[in-house]
Symmetry: C2
Subunit: 319 residues, 2 copies
């Protein structure tokens, strides 16, 4: 039997997810209700819940897949609320950043409210090992975020630090989404490792692409000006490699945080002409390849194909 | 057998606690390490761990009492890190508020790091019901904190709102400390209710006293200027009752957030002369009485006496 034919489809799952997340975030404290409504209706791509659902489906469906999907998304949302402060982000998913509307206070505390709902969801699964998995993901997430700040403050840029940061801030939670499904299914060791590796490499590719497009992307498609990271003093793989090839020019631009006219265009030009852009694209392709091949121990299914397609989609719009 | 004679003493427990908390907060991200060291060495009264330990001892010692004690303290510490931003507090436990040293970013994210350690501790106990108990405490904690902000913003002061706020921001977590011990002991229903009620009433009394002293206390003993709450636009029980008796004078002072010379002294004088201060003290006494009498189902022990003494200590320095 192909497990997928008997199961909920992805669109049906996402629709159910949107209902459940609304229900879960209801609070009789009005300020919390307002900020959570704002968050829910802003939506987002729901990448993490998709990962959880597709991983579950690839295993024939696991108990508490919805709780897992909600927990990863809410942990991610809490980070966004705490991160808006950090980044001083002017826009987030095309909407006014929550904290500008309601103040830092409500933003941080509403993030904490989300985290309390994550705890509630984990408790509902009845699986203490899942609590442990989330403890580790949350620890690495916080460490990755702080490390990003520290690296910028000390200007101690390196390729190793870059990978450590994105591992923490993105790959750790995506890994929890995919490995969590295997845990809930009590899947054999090799299957659990397969889903863990997929989540990890997919997460790395996802963040590397995001960072690449931040400089090299198309403003209209991005919905925000390019060069945001450089203006915040964040050195991603592309700028780090550029620093190696054109130390003087790139360091000057970084030092003034791309505040002079033409700075961002200069970086884009250098990235193209030096071949650094191509090298970053190749590094992303390599990650996507590792993600896809991680899945080989899984039995064939529509969900497995959908996971592969999700990973391959990271290669679109790169050139 | 008197359970207490065979068990660790409170000072020995606290010493072990200080070692364990240091161990637990170690991170190889330097900024996290710095902020957590700052937090640990600043210390504090460790009231919540004491509650957990004494509750455990009153039941003859329960498994994972140290994990419970650490989890309640770290959840509390995370709130302090998130709250420093909120309150714009200038001092916290007599030290420079963490965020002034390292910036809002590291403060919020290091709070998140602490929360990930709470998850880890909960997972170690292997008790999913404890995760559920903490989910509820954390939810009420976040709601109480946001409600405080909302009430100040809307100026929708009432006695009911005041109690709801302190229930969330203080009593909920203290209840988790005491009830958590009963849960870990698989104590009978009436014993669990006894410890839950003690934690709740003690927590209420604790916060009511704290709020009372914020206006009526002695600056030297407090280690900070009196009237901090009024200056932050927070209406506690004493100011709310004063508003009922002297609406015009008190509203004016609140409106200018006690910025005129003599404002705080005026409130203190009014509180004494109107009898409001005495009424608040009586309300605290009543809470302490309820806390103490909650303990009656527990067998006599040194730990039970210590819990009673902890509650009675809230009545010191009030007049």
């Amino acid at each position: 039997m192909n497990a997928d034919t008997t199961r909920t489809s992805l669109p049906a799952f996402v629709a159910e997810f949107e209902l459940r997340i609304r229900e879960l975030l209801r609070s009789d404290v009005e300020f919390i209700q307002l900020i959570e409504e704002d968050l829910v209706s802003a939506g987002g791509k729901r990448i993490r819940p998709r990962l959880a659902f597709l991983s579950s489906s690839a295993l024939g469906g696991v108990p508490f897949e919805m709780e897992l999907a909600l927990a990863v998304e809410l942990l991610h949302s809490a980070t966004l609320l705490h991160d808006d402060l950090v980044d001083d982000a002017e826009t987030r998913r095309g909407r006014e950043a929550a904290y500008r509307k309601y103040g830092n206070a409500v933003s941080v505390l509403s993030g904490d409210y989300l985290l309390s709902r994550v705890l509630y969801l984990l408790a509902r699964t009845g699986r203490i090992e899942l609590v442990e998995l989330f403890a580790e993901a949350a620890r690495r997430l916080a460490e990755g975020e702080v490390l990003q700040f520290q690296v910028a403050a000390y200007q101690e840029y390196s390729e190793e630090q870059y990978y450590r940061i994105i591992e923490g801030k993105t790959a750790a939670l995506m890994t929890a989404a995919t490995e969590g499904a295997a845990l809930l299914a009590d899947a054999p060791r090799n299957i659990r490792a397969a889903l863990r590796d997929f989540g990890y490499h997919y997460g790395m590719a996802f963040q590397m692409r995001d960072d690449y497009l931040d400089l090299m992307g198309d403003e209209k498609r991005l919905g925000k000006p390019v060069g945001g990271d450089v203006r915040e003093g964040k050195v991603t793989l592309i700028t780090y490699w550029l620093m190696q090839q054109h130390p003087q020019e790139v360091n000057e631009i970084l030092l003034r945080r791309a505040s002079a006219p033409g700075d961002v265009e200069k970086l884009r030009y250098l990235a193209e002409s030096s071949g650094v852009a191509t090298r970053v694209v190749a590094a992303i392709e390599e990650r996507v390849g590792r993600a896809v091949s991680s899945l080989s121990p899984l039995a064939d299914s529509g969900a497995k194909v959908a996971l592969e397609e999700l990973a391959l989609a990271e290669l679109q719009r790169l050139q």
